[in-house]
Symmetry: D4
């Protein structure tokens, strides 16, 4: 249930179209539904602007099935599962014919409605070929959330002309998501070239003193360019959420 639907319902109550008892039944269970192992949060869209999203790791396939089944029954919007492997995809595909798998992004969508397309785009800029899975997680999630997305990949700072060639395109965005591993310098350079909000996603790409993404994370947090918001290592989904909130 989203804001629009709730207002419609309340209008119907006011006008007498819907009885109080009937409205009560529809609303009462909204806040969350208790599956014992999960309290599915159906008010999240009202509060946060997106429906609850299923983060797959650490959940058994039975739990994933139970949660998605409950969401299919109680809502009519799109349902999204992230960090989903083939098994999660198959489990969800058994529940609905509308299931699609964005393999590189590891995202499963039960696509019951066409994605909206925002006026202003979110540009996803990534440093290297190895960063693409995280970049795609960000890009696909942003699209599911209703945003127009522009992808500019493999423009790391060691060959800065590749980036400079794309400055104008970058600046057409409403928000920019920068994805980079290793030293994460791309965030600083992009941040210095634009007046748009920049969200930086450190990736765990690298080895040795990269320490699983720490070098990029620290680099982005201490960037000499001001006005960069950093999310967790490899957290393409989180970047998409923040970008989408900004883009509305």
């Amino acid at each position: 249930m989203n804001a629009e639907k709730l207002k419609d319902l309340l209008t119907e109550v006011k006008s007498g179209q819907t009885s109080i008892d009937s409205a009560f039944e529809k609303i009462k269970d909204i806040p969350y539904h208790d599956l014992e192992y999960a309290k599915v949060d159906y008010h999240r869209e009202l509060r946060n602007g997106f429906p609850e999203v299923v983060y797959s790791p650490g959940k058994s396939l039975e739990q994933v099935r139970g949660i998605v089944k409950d969401m299919i029954e109680r809502t009519d919007g799109n349902i999204m599962a992230t960090r989903a492997d083939e098994n999660v995809y198959k489990t969800i595909a058994e529940l609905s014919d509308e299931t699609e798998y964005y393999k590189e992004a590891r995202v499963v969508v039960v696509k019951r409605q066409a994605f909206k397309v925002s006026e202003k785009s979110i540009t996803v800029v990534s440093a290297g070929t190895s960063d693409i899975p995280v970049a795609e997680e960000a890009a696909v999630c942003a699209e599911v959330m209703g945003n127009c997305v522009d992808r500019i990949y493999d423009v790391g700072v060691a060959g800065i002309h590749r980036l400079l060639d794309n400055v104008e395109r970058i600046n057409r965005a409403g928000v920019i998501i920068v994805i980079a591993g290793m030293e994460g310098a791309l965030a600083s350079v992009v941040g210095g070239l634009t007046d748009k909000p920049v969200i930086a996603v450190p990736t765990s790409i690298g080895y040795g003193a990269n320490f699983g993404g720490v070098s990029a994370l620290l680099g982005m947090l201490t960037s000499c360019a001001s006005g960069i918001g950093v999310v967790n290592i490899d957290n393409g989904f989180g970047a998409a959420c923040l970008a989408s909130k900004i883009n509305r």
Copy 2:
């Protein structure tokens, strides 16, 4: 020189009001002015939307004086120095009567123009009394950058009713800046209560396993609430920059 002024100048060139030579003289030095120890970046406002800001630590008073003097001569906007102690304030105050010192925020402003006031506000929410200096750095910087700011202080999660009483007010903002030390849990709770972009600033407030702000930093990066952008520890200025870019 900001975007507006540059366009005016080019229009004057087009219409013949200004000669090419004269325009050339005005533009040629713009990108930066080389003071040997500093290359003051006068194109930053064009690129980033804010004029260059003087970060005081690590600069001698002579260097601060030189840089601000150059900015006073070459621009007519407001000039801001951050992390400024009394001596920095006095040094700048000698250069201009319009100098103001926001002591708690450690910000000096040479206020040559009234601050603009944005339509939508930026709400600065802080967890404890000790976090106020960072919160004020964020708030004052956001005001200098032309934003209406709403302050909600001392609403840490250990007394969650203080926060819940302010949910409606928080949700009126265009962007929310959350300032918290210790475990930084305030960012997660606020992030779960709003559909507005949240920028989280970990502070170095705490002791022991706080490790100078690391506990709050990690807590904010791994928040269970989605869509939170984190800036460096104690970086109120950076949060204001990002919030201001979003708020425009």
Copy 3:
């Protein structure tokens, strides 16, 4: 041998029912039995209130068999092995028909006596579905130790109404165990809502800047709510021990 049995024996000695030699034989070997690779500690119940528990990792199946066999022969209480996989379960099940496997909790119990049920309950509160294995370890261990346990799962702070709906139930407990990964903020919020002792268990659930549970651990140690005792990452068993000692 527990306190009760020892007192009975000594009373029998005093009254002449048991000869000194016979009592000597029964007591002499008590402190521990030396299996070469393990000195099974049979006085632990006297000193600590619980019998020695078999922590499975790092022990060969032969060692587990030897230790449990020795305990079965020398005691008549319940025997517990933690972090037990299927193989540990099978090894122990061969020794006794009374063996039960709590799979999600990874706990094996040789249940030779009915569990006691404490007057006051221990409430186990967990943040997300992925935290359930640790929560179950805590819950099952607490039950084996004779406590009434109340489970409230998936009430993370990003949807704080799910938690607030359960405040009254939480406050009915004698002790509260809070299980949370990621930023561990649940401990702070629960700690602020109750006057009961809170034991916090950080879990290794999360990725990136979670660093295998460090973010939750630091968050709980630096919590702005006072009076929270923290145990090791994923240490549901340790939380149950402490809660049980408090609950008596």
Copy 4:
């Protein structure tokens, strides 16, 4: 306002002794009082069992004065400030003649009521002479919170007979607080000798690989003795809070 007083007031309302309006006036402001820089939390005692405590570092003397003054006016219980240096003491002493300074513990108390004395004692065990300030913070805070406290100091494990001589005395406690720096081994040894709940406080005493208390912190978290709850480094106050909740 504590639980007892609130119940009395409500009884007076029921019996007509107090008018609803008058009761309303007394209750309405309770949850917290907004001093702009601080929202003093007057419901904490109802929720947590202790009144709000002033943590001094990071607060200006003006802020300390304002908060304590507000608490003196609105409550009639004891008021406590921790980590208080001489200046904090003097500031508070100007507000009330009943102010006492526990110098070694760095605690200031506005003692408006005699301390209660609990039936069961809290035993504070510390490893070395240098740990005494933290031990005293724990001991004094526990006394202010109404507990009988027993102190056993300088019984580190390098001279284990000093500890073993005190086992019986340790086991008389309702709860044990163990204070130790360096490797923090005292917590493990005490934990193995008692069936009472143990709260461990790592201190920052040590040098080199102690890393400001980290070695003791990790040692206590990974203790081979089960059922130890750990609080932040040097956090004597937090240990007292938890011990006091357990001791009730």
Copy 5:
């Protein structure tokens, strides 16, 4: 070639029993033999008191075979390979019938001479059953180096009576090696009970805040007992080397 043999040779040269040329041939290659991938160090026994030892990890089976074959041909003492799995054992066993595998210790010995037995013993004390592999590495290596070894296992400090029962036996040693994981407190307690040199080996046994042995390592380095020498995590071999040097 060891000291004794070199002196014999030189004596023979002096007396004319061996020609200078013949002695030259025997000595010239001594310092090391270059296998391209390894320079086998045949002077180590002269300098360090032990022959070079093959540390197996990171070496291919071909390299192990080549090095051991070279040592068999050029020396007549015992040859030892540590951290050896089954494959390393088989590879070496093909080269000599005198090969023995100490499986729990992961040590392979080509036993061409009976082990010497020192007058004073080295006592290996370990905390838990899971620490035994490291303890056995220390014990077996010490035996190969010619020491009498006394093993006291599973005497962790959580059941301190198990340790106290063995104090006298511990004090009969010439040197004591303490093996412990988790918080490593055993080193401190043993160090406080003896006037013999103590060598502490932290093990990687534990989980969570153990961080692969860091908690035990830091605990041993910051021990409140003086005069403890610490070696690397899980380094039973290194402890045996140091103990053996001391024991001579």
Copy 6:
């Protein structure tokens, strides 16, 4: 396209041998070729002196094939892929008969031109047998880049005569690459024995307090010998690049 070829082309344009249109076609695509998942950087040789190198981890075999195929078509120099396993080798070998696999170094070369041989050599000095894979990565890459390479392996400081025997040979080099794991002391000793530039490569060889190469990395960064440049852990390729730039 390298510097020589570009100058030739421009000379042809000047002399009329090549038409402007034809030259334009040849140059226009140079900076990089966009394969969507990769922007292959064909100007790198002009800017950096080496052609772009394919770092294999994190790239799918399809991506490796696409990038190498593009490079084969658009250039005529040697092509190199690092950290290449058997599958990467096979994938590239299908594209060209000139593919060679340096297995120990994990380097694949499409060898279309004989390697150049520099006048001065680069000496690669390594500490132990286990460090050889990293040493070979450095040596092979340096050879592909046109340098004469001298290998001195297994000369760790624990047997310092092995190193001292080679001092003269080390000093004949133009640049020295030192490869060492564990404590990395070899870099300090070599650095003190030579007046040639030293590049140090810490390896992840070791265990326990080695922390995946951190001990060697810190040791090299804090070396008491001056003038040592350190590259990332296990980064033999990076050392070869820097050495090669110096050697020219």
Copy 7:
């Protein structure tokens, strides 16, 4: 009371020279004397071979005075305080005319008996001039404990001939203490040159990636030379204790 005196006393009891009551009075108070803030451990010499030593930091001058006064009254051996500044020296000097201050070593000795001189020497080898305070702490403490000490200073590995010139002298020692900061490589090189036990003391000398002695600490723990025992950063006293136990 040391072992000799205790045996004398017991012999006197046996022979009737001393009455049981009188012996009882002399022995009963021995284990420790309780000064409230300290339990001075008078059995330590019996157990550990050295009398209790006063570690000055974290103790008030009053506490130092009380402890040393008690030791002067109850013993007749030498008394030692480490990490002692001028004020500690003056405080102790007021108690006894026999007080001496070893300023560079920061050690105060109440010298009531001539130091014994061991047959075999302890050699203290240090890397740089800045390491001398720690080296002197080790050397002076070893002398107070009755050892002959040989000092070889400023022989860091960057000029290895300085060290090699002293190999013979180093090998004359019974035990070697190596003191080094920065990367701590001196321990590895010395360890490779001798068959004597080596105790390594990392110092906090250095900057940047030295991290207060961590680089030297890790380097020594992971040394490629076997048989090195490491003590805490800057812990010259601890090294002297261990060396002295070995040297007896």
Copy 8:
């Protein structure tokens, strides 16, 4: 004594100009001179190409005086002390009139010979005004060592046009030293723009997640640009040494 002088001396010996005894006297003391607290290394120039340099921190003024006095007496080249404060300068100035103080670089030079000037320059590029002290240490040391130095300061990547304007000038260097704090991205960008060797110096400039230079250090070690050698945090001197060795 440098290589030239030694060769002259040996030639004189050969030709009979100098007697063997006289030459012996001149050479014998060369390797180092033992001042008890320091063994001044007079062979370093022969081995390393530079004379020994006095690193001031951790040395008393007496030690500095002794060492420099010895060097003045025994050599006739320039003498350099780094990290020198005013007092070190004054101490050295008393010994020689030729003493000069480079205050910003914290370098003292006893300038007894004119500096040589190399053919190719070393370019020192720094990111911000606050990095200048480290940049000057590198620049001045390089000049003392005989190099022509070109300084390009305040060209951080947040205003990348400032850097791009200087690419041609950067590429004229023989070696490039890049000095940067915060995220250290300047090293990656410069490394991608040049084919010259790049030496990167992380500085401790920054706050919060900078952790005293760690963020820049990790960023430089994991740079996406190949062929960058990194030295310790703030180590301008070390960078100058390495650059100078390369530049010869």
